[in-house]
Every structure is written in C-alpha cells, then in structure tokens.
Chain length 173, copies 2
Amino acid sequence: MKKGLLIVNTGNGKGKTTSALGQAFRAMGHQLNVCMIQFIKGSWKYGELNSKDRFNGLLDFHVMGKGFTFKSNNLEEDINIARKGWEIAKAALKSEKYFMVILDEFTYLLNYEFIGMDEVTACIQQRREDLHVIITGRDAPQSIIETADLVTIMEEFKHPLKAGVKAQRGIEF
Amino acid sequence: MKKGLLIVNTGNGKGKTTSALGQAFRAMGHQLNVCMIQFIKGSWKYGELNSKDRFNGLLDFHVMGKGFTFKSNNLEEDINIARKGWEIAKAALKSEKYFMVILDEFTYLLNYEFIGMDEVTACIQQRREDLHVIITGRDAPQSIIETADLVTIMEEFKHPLKAGVKAQRGIEF
C-alpha cells in the first residue's frame, strides 16, 4: 500500500483551489472517489459545481452551512459552522471510501483558532494510511507545513482585479 | 465585450498545468469551448485525459506529435514539432470558437528559441479580443510576463519525490 500524501496549496496567489480542483478531476478520471469540503462559501464556483455533476457518485461535495464568511459578526455561529465541517472532515479522514479528501480554505479555521491545531495535526497523521489529503488556503500554519509531503506556494505577481478588470464568468466563477 | 485575459502559471512548483486544468473544467461547466495544446508530452496525464471525455465536444485537445521530449537528440525534429503546435495555436487565437486557449508548457519553446518571441507576443496581443489565454511552464520570459494580466508563480516548498516517494496513480498521473 502506498502512503497517502498531504499536499498543501498556500500563498496569496491564485490557483490554490483551482489546482485542487484539477487534482480532483485527475483522480476521478481514474474512477477514484473524492471528498471535497468547502469551508469558505463560494471558493468553488458555478463552473466547477456544474462540471462535477458529470462525475456522478465520484465526488462527495460539502459546503459548510451557508458558508463561513467572517462577515456574520456572530463568532459563535462561525465556530459552530467550522466545527461541523471539521466533524465531516474527521469522518472522511477515517473512511474507506475516498482516494482523496480536499479541505478547501481550511487554513482560515486554524489561523482563527476555531479548531485546535493539535487535534488537526493528530487526525491528519492518524488518517487512513493511503488517503491523500489536500489542504488549501492562505497562511498555512507551520505545523501543517511540517507535516506536509508537498507544499506549493502560489504567489501573485500581477493581478487583473487590481488593474480594474472585473470578474468574468468562466474565469473567476 | 469583455477583454480576454492572458494568464501565466510559472515557477518551479507543482500546479501550473493542474491549475489550468481546473480553469478548463470551470469554463466547461459554463458550456464554453476550450482549446488545449500540450507542447510537452505527458503534461496532461491519464486521469485528466479520461475526465475530459466527459465533456464531449467542449474541449479540443492537441498533443504535439509524440510530444516534445528534449530527448530526441534531433533538434530539427523538435523544432518541427514545436512549429506545428504553434500553427495550431495561432489558428486558435483567431478562432471564434473558443472561450479559452491553453498553451501548456509553452514557455519551453520560447526559452529554446524554437519560435520567435516577437511573433508570439504579436499574435497574443492581436488575438480575438475576448479570448482568454493561459500559458504554463517554467521560466516564463519577461516579455510574456509583461504582456500578462495575471501571473502566478508556483513555488515548490517541499516535494515528496525528493523524499523518495514514488509517483502515484491519480496524483501524479
């Protein structure tokens, strides 16, 4: 049995979630099951949500409640949403079903200390041995980086939104 | 009409092609046509080639000959393959069909001077105005970066292959 990898996509640039999406499609091309938990509302957009429907049954997709927005001004509610997502993640990390589990925009929960770093590290290390895990989000904590097998830092170099180009269908969503 | 973006994924890390793949699936989720030209053999792997078949008709996929390997020891043949690929790309850049054209691993052709930088920059600037173009590959030349609307640099931080982990089905291919 091959050891599952922990892959981290971090940095301030584009491509953290999109690259995980590409990995999911790669895996599903092999008829392998993927579990994707989206911790921030809208990080997967209409385009890929529509695309995933072409892979009936291979992708289990979870969005946390109405999503975790940091705008609710209700800390207790945000923490509850985060913890519900983490419970789903913990079950997925132990499940026999999946080839890959994607914890999308997960770093925010850690950086805001909505869930404990020690518990997360332990659950990742004690996951099903051949399960691949992808964690995306800015500012990945040091302990996640140290646990990871592969860390890619996406750095923004020049950004159209900063130049006043509006978000476009099929590109940004 | 919205201006098409030139997006460049460069750097030595993972995720340059995978992120473009994710963008393609995002666009196809909107029923938009994508043209993908693979200049280096095998940069799209079995998993995604199989996945793309679920989007019948939306993706036109071109692999250059047996692919461009840098191993042929036949410079003339490599240049011919590169130029054939570039001819397909030029037609795609003018076509009315596509929402997005992906020139995967294209930077190598420029860095090896198999095609002229001035011609490439001119064709990209004179493309159909609302066409999005994604160029991937290491060491994107300065003039491409200057022309781009969005450049993401994928930096490798820690790599499982270096630690002796073998390539795995569904992850690396």
